[in-house]
Structure formats: structure tokens, C-alpha cells
Symmetry: D2
């Protein structure tokens, strides 16, 4: 499993190029970036060389389509998706992810129908480029009642939704933070087949009651109370081989320099990978 970083939790990064350099300098193997922007700035060959030179792969790109709003907005974003997919594929990236909020002000059933059709279209486009779509279930309790109607937040519900979407290249973005806030164990991961997991996020949680864990109250791996060793071991056990990317969402951005924050991230990965025997 590749040590990965997203920009979240790294403070005020100057550029993707700085992100790539710091990630490489501290031993990371994957970065979750905007592949299309990198290709537009460096050309395909230039982007490939930049990544190769730093020994990095692209862990995942974000889904550049707003599937939660109007039909007009959804349609308007699809050309961008084909371009992003082409760029990601050119860089060897096979994962594209989006998150799913656990409640909604819309009629939940109708929104589920719309979202099913829209994410299917996204998956079909991504599939043409050999890219998979990862859906991130979101566990923190406060978000389940943040909007009027419950949507979905458990692994089972998300897997059922993936079946409803009905494309073979859709799976889970599995985040340790949502695993923890859903009250899950290693055994829950071990029930999965590795191809059901498109991408993994790793984050830690502060020592507060699980019901009080806030989505933007995350801490660096190894600095909190989540059994990240158990999380990683379970992923290894089922055969997951992709990237494990840190994504530290916080209420206020960290003020340390990006380099200090990447160093801190490395320390966190060192600690939890060691605890997992990796």
C-alpha cells in the first residue's frame, strides 16, 4: 500500500510542484492532485517526467463534476470530466473520488435517483479511460442530522448504492475516519474483496466520544485514538494494494510551513505503519 498525501493538512502550499517535491522528499509514494491542471501546465510528457523523477504516482483525482445540484450544472461539468479522465489516464492514475454527505435538504429518495443516474454517467465516462470511481461514505454523527433528511453513511448502504449505480468500475473510498465514526472494526474490512475499494484515506481522531467527532476535527495519523494499525492490517489482509492518502480536514488551517507539516505527516505514517508491521 502506497503512502499518499492530499493537500489537506499541509497548510498553504505554493504550488502542485512544491507539493510533489515535499511529498517525495519525505518518502511518500502517491499524491492526490489535479491531473488535468498538471498536464495543462507541463504537457503529458512533462507531467509524467515530473512524477517519475520524484518516484510518485497520482493516487486519485477528485471528481470534477457537481452531481449534487442542478441538471444544467451537471451537464456543464461533463466536458471537464472527459478531459480530466484523459489526463489522469495519461499519467497512469486509475482512481477518481467523490464524497457523499449523510443528510440532505432534498427529498432523499428523489435525490438518490438523480445521483444514481448522474454518478453512473460519470462512471461510464471514467470507465472509458480505465479509471474507477470511488464513493466516500461520511461517518461523523453531526452531519447525519445537519440537513433535514437522512441520506446514507454506512458501508452496506454505500455498497447497495454501488449496486444500484450498476457499473463495474465503482467502489468505495474507504477513510479510516468514517470507519471509526461508523463504529466499525477490522472484521468489517475483512468482509470486503479488494476490488471493492478504489482508494483509501487515513486520518486520526481526537480523544472525544465518537458521537462528538467532527468532520473537520481531524488529527494526523498516530496522534489520535483510531486503531490505524488494525485498519491498515485489515486492508493488507484482503489484498488492497493502492494508495493510502492522508486528508487532514480542520476548522482552521494549520499555520506551520508545508515542509514542517509534511514532516509531521511522515512521522505519523512511520508510527502507524510500524505499528501495523508494514
Amino acid at each position: 500500500m502506497l503512502r499518499g498525501l492530499t493537500g489537506a493538512g499541509l497548510g498553504k502550499l505554493e504550488s502542485t510542484e512544491q507539493f510533489i517535491e515535499l511529498a517525495a522528499k519525505y518518502g511518500f509514494e502517491a499524491v492526490d492532485i489535479d491531473a488535468l491542471a498538471l498536464v495543462e501546465n507541463h504537457s503529458i510528457d512533462g507531467a509524467r517526467e515530473l512524477l517519475a523523477k520524484h518516484g510518485l504516482v497520482v493516487g486519485s483525482i477528485g471528481l470534477p463534476v457537481e452531481w449534487r445540484g442542478s441538471e444544467e450544472r451537471f451537464r456543464a461539468d461533463l466536458p471537464k470530466l472527459t478531459q480530466a479522465a484523459a489526463a489522469a489516464a495519461a499519467l497512469g492514475c486509475t482512481s477518481c473520488c467523490t464524497y457523499v454527505l449523510p443528510s440532505t435538504d432534498l427529498n432523499a429518495a428523489h435525490f438518490m435517483a438523480l445521483a444514481t443516474r448522474r454518478l453512473r454517467t460519470c462512471a461510464q465516462i471514467l470507465g472509458a479511460y480505465g479509471i474507477r470511481l470511488g464513493l466516500e461514505f461520511v461517518g461523523p454523527h453531526h452531519l447525519r442530522t445537519r440537513w433535514n433528511h437522512p441520506f446514507i453513511w454506512t458501508v452496506e448502504e454505500t455498497l447497495d448504492w454501488i449496486d444500484a449505480i450498476g457499473e463495474s468500475n465503482v467502489g468505495l473510498l474507504y477513510d479510516s475516519y468514517h470507519w471509526y465514526t461508523n463504529g466499525l472494526t477490522a472484521a468489517d474490512i475483512e468482509k470486503l474483496r479488494p476490488e471493492q475499494i478504489v482508494h483509501v484515506h487515513i486520518n486520526d481522531a481526537p480523544d472525544v466520544p465518537v458521537e462528538d467527532v467532527l468532520d473537520n476535527g481531524r488529527v494526523y495519523p498516530g496522534e489520535g485514538v483510531i486503531d490505524l494499525a488494525g485498519f491498515l492490517q485489515a486492508l493488507v489482509k484482503i489484498g488492497y494494494k493502492g494508495a493510502v492518502s492522508q486528508e487532514i480536514l480542520t476548522a482552521t488551517p494549520p499555520t506551520d510551513s508545508p515542509e514542517r507539516l509534511v514532516q509531521r505527516s511522515k512521522a505519523g505514517f512511520d508510527k502507524v505503519y510500524a505499528a501495523a508491521g508494514l
Copy 2:
């Protein structure tokens, strides 16, 4: 458009054979029956002859699959669906319908995902036999809050769901009762293409405020306040050519003889078809 009958509203019918005889005697052209039972009792050739002798076609069969409950139950019903589809196809029937309750005690989003996948499977099996699946949106207001969470009840929501199911042989069962309780007009029907309508139900409503109309408070066509002439004209205008079947759901069954009730139904059809200029 074929004048059609379901058994609902015809009192205590002794048998499907009696139903067929009475329907034919009073000028109906389609009956919504259990095609599989008819084939099992008469053989395919016998059932075809019985219908042909009476100048009747099968308007639609009911979906013989419980898609609202457990996965076990759903799976257990699928063999019956293949048999029912084979029987219906053998009799020339190309329509199979189910209704959609407008609220649910389940998590509405999760139920929508499960139902999407299950009805897709039903549509796929029906499609192998050239049969279409009609989804009946259900309008009466009291049912929208009968269970804890809103599900869907409008035409637009149902069409969006049909898109989410994603099979070309799924469309609407359009019931005048649900058209009325949704506050729709002829213009709403005229927005549709005929192939979006799999089957039509015709029923009338008592003269009470539309919010108080009960699902099982239906009256015979022409005996109530729904603009059935406008309803029928709009269907003709867009080119719908299938059956229009009466389905009188009432709190207590009518006590008249089936023959009297079929006669009464005929009078209702005569009245509203004449008003529509058909």
C-alpha cells in the same frame, strides 16, 4: 385505446373465466389478469383461444415479485417472474406493472437504491420477453405521510427514477386518480412521449377536497369529479394506443353482482369516452 378492466371494483368474481366472459359481454377489449394462472389452467393454446374467442387481449399483468421487503424474498420471487413473463409473452401481453407507495418507514435513500437495483433486474427479465415494466406513481395525500419518510409520488420524480433504473423498457403506469391527486392537467400528459406510458388506469374521485381523497375511496368513471374526458383526450393526442383499465379500490367491497358491476363500468366508460369524443 382499449377499454380495459381489472378485477378491482367487480365484486366477488367466481373465476378468471367469468371475468373474461363478462368483460367481453359488455364490450371491453382488455383484461388485466394473472397470465400465468390462465396458462397453467388452460395451456398456452387454450388460453389464447379463450381470449381470442372473447375478442380480448391481456392489458397488463401484475409484477409477481415483492421488491419492497427482504433480499431473500426478492430472490425467491424471481423464478415466478420468468414464468409469468413467459406466459404473458405467449398471450401477446407486453405490459407488467407495480405501484410505488409515496412514503416509507425505511431510510428513503437506501430503499431507493435497493428498489432501483431490484426493479432493474425485474425489467431485465421482462425485457427478455418483450414485456415492459410500468411504475405507478401514487398521488393521494394521506399516503404521503402515512409512513415516516417521504418517498416519491410525482410524475417527474418517477421519470427521474426510471432514468436511474436505466432500462429502456420501463415507463409509467398512468392512473387518472394519481393524475388528479397530483393536481395535474392535460398539458402535463401532453409533455410525454407515448412510449413513456406502459399502461393506463382510469378511476374517478368523489367530490371532496383533493387533499382528502383516499386511495381506497375511488368511484366508477363518470361518477365523480375528475376530468376524465380531458385525461383521455390528452392520451389520444400524444398517441397512446394501449389499454385503459378501470381499478376501483374501495374500503369495503361492492355488494352488487359482478355482472351488475361490469354493466355499471360499461356505462361509465360509455360516458367518459363519449365526452372525450372517442
Copy 3:
């Protein structure tokens, strides 16, 4: 049914703007053009106004994806498809077409599998914009053995392929030339439902044995031997309401001025529409 034109058979058109003016001047109602180019040159609003001012709609756009070659080429064309679909949808066009050659040098079964998957992807993208994909079966006998292995050229085969593609927005591009070279009659059209036809081409054939009719030996409607009145009447009978576009493919381009050729086209339409009683 709208009188439509493609550029084929109109000689050396200077520009799309000229094409639009001439089409309008001679009473045509639809033009088959590159919607994306028009939008890029005039903006969406400008293109809409240009068409509206001339009383024209876009009959169909061509599929801007090479699905017959390498996977790389196919992928590279998809961003263009999303852009073209967005432009066409913005102009109210709901039809996009491609043709299918009746023989191939590739392994026919393998090519069918590849083409099925690729055209499904195209249909899925078009479907997101409310656009349908029309497949044009190609009848001339000489092309059936032009390459090593037979592919498909009949209506039935094409409808079976459409089922294999499995998207509800795929149908036929029905060209009178291929109807004629397949030896079909009005009765064959009357077996179809109107939604199975995405677009129509109208062309005439010279008075030579049907086996000797060449794909690029077409003549203007009414100048040849095809029963175009019967063709049009059958389309009307089943309820087809879209564009009927002329597409005169010839071995050498006509040398008359575009205006003379549009006039000649008008005379042809006048003749065959009158013969059809339209």
C-alpha cells in the same frame, strides 16, 4: 416531417452560414451541421438566433468519434463528444448519427464486441444531454464484399445490435437508399415504432439493377427510381416526426453553384412530398 439538408450534394459551400441561408431561402426546415463549430463561431445565443432567424432547426450532428480504429483514438475523441453534445443540446438538437459499413477486414465478431462497447459509451454521453444516437445501416451490395468479412447491413441485424448496445437512446438512421438496396418495402417500415428511428436520410437511385447501385452513385430525390412517396408515407404512418435530410454522395462533386443545387433539391422534395400527399 421536416425537410432537411446535409451539405452532401450541394457542391462547394463557402460556409455554414451560406448553407443556412440557402436552406432557409428554399423552404428547408432542418440542416445537419456541426453544432459545436457553429456555437464556437457565434456563441450559443448567436447560433440560436441565427437558426431562429432562418426558421431552421439542427436535424442531426455527426458523431465526432472514430469508433472503428484504435482504442487510443477512440479515447482521444471523447472530450470532443461531450463538447459537441453540449453544443447540440444548447441548440435543441436531439440527434447524432454515425454509419456502419457492411464489411470489415477485422475479425467481425471481435470488432462487433469493440464497437458495441464504444458506441454504448457514446450513447451514454449523448444521453446525458438528451441526445439520441442513430446508427445508419448501409445497403449497397458492392460494400458487403468490399472488405474481407461480412459485418451487418440489414434493419433486423441493426436492431439486434441496438439491443446489444443496450441504451434506450439508440435507434436507426433510416436512409431511403439503404432501404432500397436492402430490397425493403413500406411494410418493413410500418413494423417499426417511431421512437426506433432517430433520423432519416432521403436519396434516390439511378435506374440500374439494384445489385449494381453504388453507395456514391446517388441522385436527387425524384430523379431516380426509388419509391420515395411510399417511403415517406410509411414514415408518416408510423408517426415519425423528425427531419428527413438529403445526402447526395457522388463519385465526383457536382459543379453547379450551391444555390442551383439547393434549388434542384427543393424541386426534388416538392415532387416526392407531393407524390406522398404531404
Copy 4:
């Protein structure tokens, strides 16, 4: 990987019960049988107990649908498929297989379209029961020209077809005999993800030029020239964990007793598993 047997190559078995007993007696772990027949004869609970008592699982069932002939025949077989799938699922079997002949007297492109649609329907029904569909590519050279037109026989072509079918539960039945007659190596297996393989057959080939290997000229594992150790090692390496079932097709049936033939099969498995270090 489970040591598995089909009935092919075991002579004149008296019954499925005898097959089960002999398989268990000689250390096999999986049997490829007719799950529906077993359930009909023993009830679900009885069949489960019979298998459990002998320490056996059902490796795979055969697809009980004739998808190569008429549409009528195809439809007529679907009810049987739902029953077979229900029975297989009840016994914990998740694999159902069919073979693909490498040439055809039909128009190859049209047959590919029909077969794509029909096998999709089969996969959809099987998927409702959690069962996967395995397609067996067939390599022997003589069959590639046995009928008029080439169909498909390579792994790549079959994977492309699986993409065209477009259901996530379709994969390969990988038979060492077809691997060998296609001239493939361990590296070709190592390119696959384990979920692309639904089931595995193991057979050996006589020492004749590969072009002369006959489909019904198979010999027991370890008695021929195929590098079965390399075959098994590659499967292990990619993570395949299912059954590996022997299927000895011969021109004339072996005359030894079933028990002698199962013993001989065991000796073959012992030899090649040992050579593979398993």
C-alpha cells in the same frame, strides 16, 4: 485453490451421489455438478448436508440456457436459469459457466450482437443471486475453421467481449487446455486481476504439435506436455482462490471404473500441485 472435478473423464458415473463420494474419498474439494438437480432430489437442506458431510463445495454449475440458437429456445430456458441460480446460491456456489466456440456458420458480427444481449440477460439473472458468469474461450486450432466464419478464441477478445456484455459479474473460465492451444505463458495469466477469473479448468495435452491438439483429445493432468506447474503458480501469484476442475474430454469414453479414474485424477493433481509447490 480447490482441487475440483467435473464428471468428464470419470467414465460411467452411476449418480451424482457416487460422484460426490468418490471426489471426497480421493481428496477433492470441489465438484462441478447440476445444483438444481441435487436440490430437487435432496431438498436444499439435504443437499447442503450431503456436501458438508463430504467436505465439498460446488465449484461451478453449467449455464442451463441455449444462447446459441433461436430466440424462442433462449426465452424458454430462462425460467430454468432462475431456478438453477436459486439452487446454486442456496448451496453457496457463486460460479456458472459456458463455453464459446471459435467459429460459426452464422454471420459472426450478428451472432456476436445476439450473444452479447443474451449472455447479458443471463448475467443479470445470475447476478441477482450473487453468482458470476464465466466464459470459456476455446483454443484448439481445428475448431477455429470448423465452421465458416471465425468467431473469437483469445483471452483479449474474450475480455473485450466481457466489456461489451457490460455486467460486472462476468469473467473468464480459464482452462489450461485453451491457454496451451493459444500459445500463452504464465506472464499472460499474471496480467490478469483475480476477479477476472470466474473458474478454472485443468487438463493436459498429448505430445503432438500444438496445431494438431484436438479439443476432445485431452489427457489427465501430469500425463501430458502442458506446463501445469507454471499455470497453477501464475494463478496463485495473482491471487486466484477458487476451484481448479479437471474436465477430460475424449473421443471415446474411458472404460475404467469411475473409482479407478478418480484415483488416476488424484495422482495427476498430486503430481502437478507438487510440481507447482502447492
